[in-house]
Symmetry: C2
Subunit: 225 residues, 2 copies
C-alpha cells in the first residue's frame, strides 16, 4: 500500500504550473482590481503578452474570460478595454448581491450544523480582533471569508458561483469605500450567526438583507462626496 509508506499530506500534488491562461487571467484580474489598470484603458494584447513573458494566445483567452465575467469590454476589431463602472451598474450589482446573499442566509439557516456555526464564530472573533487592531486589509479579507462560509453552508453551488462573481465586482467598486464601515459590520455579523444557529430562516434573511443594504447605502453616501 502506497499511502502507508508516506506521511499524510507529504505529496503536494507536484505543483504543476497549470494552464498559462489561468495564471494570466489571475494576473490581469489582480491588475484590474488593484487599479493598476484603470477603467477605460485600452489593453493591447501584444503589450500584455510581452509584459507577462508569454505569447498573445494565453492573453487572448484570459481576456475572453474576463469579458464574459464583465471585467473588460471586448470591442470587435478594436480590442479590450477595462470596463468602466457606472453609478447605475454599481447600484444594480449591489441590489443583486443583496438578493443572493439574503437567499444564502436563508438556506444556511436551514442547513447549518454546529460545526458550521463554530467556523463562523471563529471568523467573527478574528474579524473583531482585526478591527480592534485597525488592520483594515485583514478585516476586509475576513469579511469576504465570512460571507463565503455562509454561501458554503447554504449548499447551493450554482448560487455560490453567481454570488462569487457578483461579489468580486462589487468589491472592485466598493473597496475604496469599505475601509470605514468596519466595526458595525461585525456587530451585524454576530446577530446573523445567532439567527442561523437558531435556524430562524426569516430572521437570517432579514438581517442579511439589512446588512447588505447598509453597505449599499454607505456606497451611495460616499459617492456623493
Amino acid at each position: 500500500m502506497l499511502s502507508a509508506g508516506l506521511p499524510q499530506g507529504a505529496v503536494p500534488r507536484l505543483e504543476r504550473p497549470g494552464p498559462l491562461r489561468d495564471r494570466v487571467y489571475e494576473a490581469l484580474l489582480e491588475l484590474i482590481t488593484t487599479r493598476a489598470l484603470q477603467p477605460g484603458q485600452h489593453l493591447v494584447e501584444s503589450e500584455l503578452a510581452g509584459h507577462l513573458g508569454v505569447s498573445r494566445q494565453p492573453v487572448r483567452e484570459a481576456l475572453q474570460r474576463l469579458n464574459t465575467e464583465g471585467w473588460v469590454d471586448l470591442r470587435p476589431a478594436q480590442g479590450a478595454f477595462v470596463h468602466e463602472p457606472t453609478e447605475e451598474e454599481a447600484d444594480q450589482l449591489l441590489t443583486v448581491r443583496t438578493l443572493l446573499e439574503a437567499e444564502a442566509a436563508r438556506l444556511a439557516a436551514g442547513n447549518a450544523d454546529s460545526a458550521g456555526i463554530e467556523v463562523l464564530e471563529a471568523i467573527l472573533a478574528e474579524g473583531l480582533n482585526a478591527v480592534d487592531a485597525d488592520d483594515v486589509d485583514t478585516a476586509v479579507a475576513l469579511n469576504a471569508r465570512f460571507h463565503a462560509k455562509i454561501m458554503d453552508l447554504a449548499g447551493n453551488a450554482v448560487l455560490a458561483e453567481l454570488a462569487a462573481q457578483v461579489d468580486r465586482r462589487v468589491r472592485w467598486y466598493y473597496t475604496p469605500v469599505a475601509r470605514q464601515r468596519g466595526e458595525q459590520s461585525w456587530v451585524e455579523h454576530r446577530e446573523m450567526i445567532a439567527a442561523i444557529a437558531a435556524h430562524d430562516e426569516q430572521l437570517a434573511t432579514r438581517l442579511m438583507r439589512e446588512h447588505t443594504e447598509h453597505t449599499r447605502r454607505s456606497y451611495h453616501a460616499r459617492s456623493k462626496s
Copy 2:
C-alpha cells in the same frame, strides 16, 4: 447631406460576418442544447474546427466561453467535455431561477408602464393561440419572450444577464420535460400581468415564485418516471 439622398432604411448596415468566435460559440451552443452533442461527450478541437470550416483558434475561444458559462467542462491537458447535468444541479438552478425571476417580477411591478403591459398582453395572446394550436415550439419560445420582457421591465441589466444565463441552462435540462405544462402556465402569466399592471409588488413576487416553483415541481415529478 447624405441622409437626404438615401431612402430611410436602405442601408442595412452591411451585415458584417462578425467575429468568428461568436458564430462558433452560437453554433456549438445550438449543438449542445439540441442534444446533437450529448452530455459527457469529448469535444475534440480539431474535429470541430474541421467540421465548422475554421481553424482551431476560434473554436478554443468559443470553448473557453462555454466553459465559464457552465456548458462544457474544460479538463486541463485533456480537452473539453459537454457538461453532464446532475439532479442536484438542476434543482439548484431552478431554485436560483425562482429567486431571480421573482425579484424581476417585483421590480417590474414597480416600474412597468402601460406600453410594457401592452407588450406583455400581446405575448400572452400569442401564447394562448400557440397552446390552442398545439404548437409547442412556438409556445416555448413565447414563454421565454414573456419572461425576458419582464426582465426588461425590471430595468436591472445585471439581474437580466444573470437570469439569461441561468435560464438557458434551465431550459436545457427542462425542455424535454416542459412540453406538457402548456396551458396552466399561461393562465398564471395572465394573473401576473394583472399584478404588475396594478403595481402590486408583493403579489407579483408571490405569483412569479409560485409559477417557477410549479415548473420545478413538474421537473421533479417527471424525473422520477
